[in-house]
Symmetry: D2
Subunit: 130 residues, 4 copies
């Protein structure tokens, strides 16, 4: 299974008054995971959009186990679970050291500039797990 | 079933370079829905936290059907689906006029200041659907 | 002097681990103030962008006196200070009841779709203080 | 003059419908700059807060020259301009390669857990430019 690991620090702006990372930010992290996974295969999501291909989130879920807090060094593991037709499914795990903080899943759909669903370009389908 | 409707405009800051609302913001909207639902019953989430009770998101999901765009007048419907033990489940629908843009579900868990899971206070259990 | 008052509640997502509103959010509030000021004159910023006119922030400043906290009912007063050439200057005051929490100033510049600076449309120059 | 350079990529979530980075995010970047500047001297802002010392923004300003766009590799230069009494002044420059995109200034004030202004701890005053 194709996967990529990306590390970054929790920003103060990402915390909330509960003293933990606001839960919506994990979705922003997952997005970074998708982009960096793609980059690790030699593709740039920015170039993809320049070519008129957009990936939009159709469905996303996150389960939270332990809170991330300010300045934590986060390890985000992103995996492609499926890539066929117009859709790619990813899975995410968010760690602080070896502690699993959260797990997520998403489905992104491929659309063109007019918002019409279109088949994934060949190279994106090759990202599919063997 | 107990439900509440809340209206607000999409902020420019909530959009992204795809010209639509960034998908993570729907989770922020759901949070507003939970708080306003509670307020409609006469309770303040701020007071709840002052009393040492915090509700933290344990699981959240959002399905996206149509994009919300800048300045849309959004109608958010929030429902309590279940409230027992330490957990409350909500369901959300995001509309622009009569068009359903997104639907969400979440489970929040009740914890105390030390982060220990605790039973919902009685009045929160009464929010449960009949 | 032309001014507009807009009220809204602080969102939980806008707070940070210091238990107060993260300072960057005041800029997002100022943006809402500009848009609502324009709306109060009968103009829609969304329509402006559709017509190929964009207002971009060239310079912004905020002074913070007292923290806003979660669920505060904020009263934002937005004023046009000057509007000439390609630029509009605004001034902002953020209140909780009668307490001044912050004060801001900004200059926005008018550009076209290609990013070229252009003169303000006539109706925007009329927003200028008498 | 003490300064620190920090690099990072623009996140998709940081863009807005104008196709550029929303201007409020530069303040979030400046905050990262302050924290990383401190870390480069061997201090952790997280530990500072654990010891009951908080730095809160009292005044911040940003001038924008060129837009940052999605996936840009940003180079943020943060400098301490002054550090005396209860206040530290910083200056920021945001670059894409050698192009200056924005410049900022801020004053942060040192407060204790009760929100009272207090003198900067000795080691923070030593951060002052020679």
């Amino acid at each position: 299974m194709k996967q990529h690991e990306h590390s970054f620090r929790v920003r103060y702006q990402e915390t909330d008054a509960q003293g933990r990372v606001h839960h919506a930010n994990y979705l922003t992290w997952f997005e970074i995971g998708r982009v960096e996974l793609l980059r690790s295969f030699g593709y740039s999501y920015r170039d993809l959009e320049k070519d008129g291909i957009m990936l939009v989130v159709a469905d996303i879920r996150c389960e939270y186990f332990q809170p991330a807090i300010y300045d934590d060094l986060i390890r985000l593991v992103t995996r492609t679970v499926a890539a066929r037709g117009a859709r790619i499914e990813h899975e995410y795990e968010v760690f602080r050291e070896t502690t699993l903080l959260a797990r997520g899943w998403s489905t992104v759909a491929c659309i063109d500039r007019e918002g019409r669903v279109r088949r994934l370009p060949e190279f994106l389908r090759r990202v599919e797990p063997d």
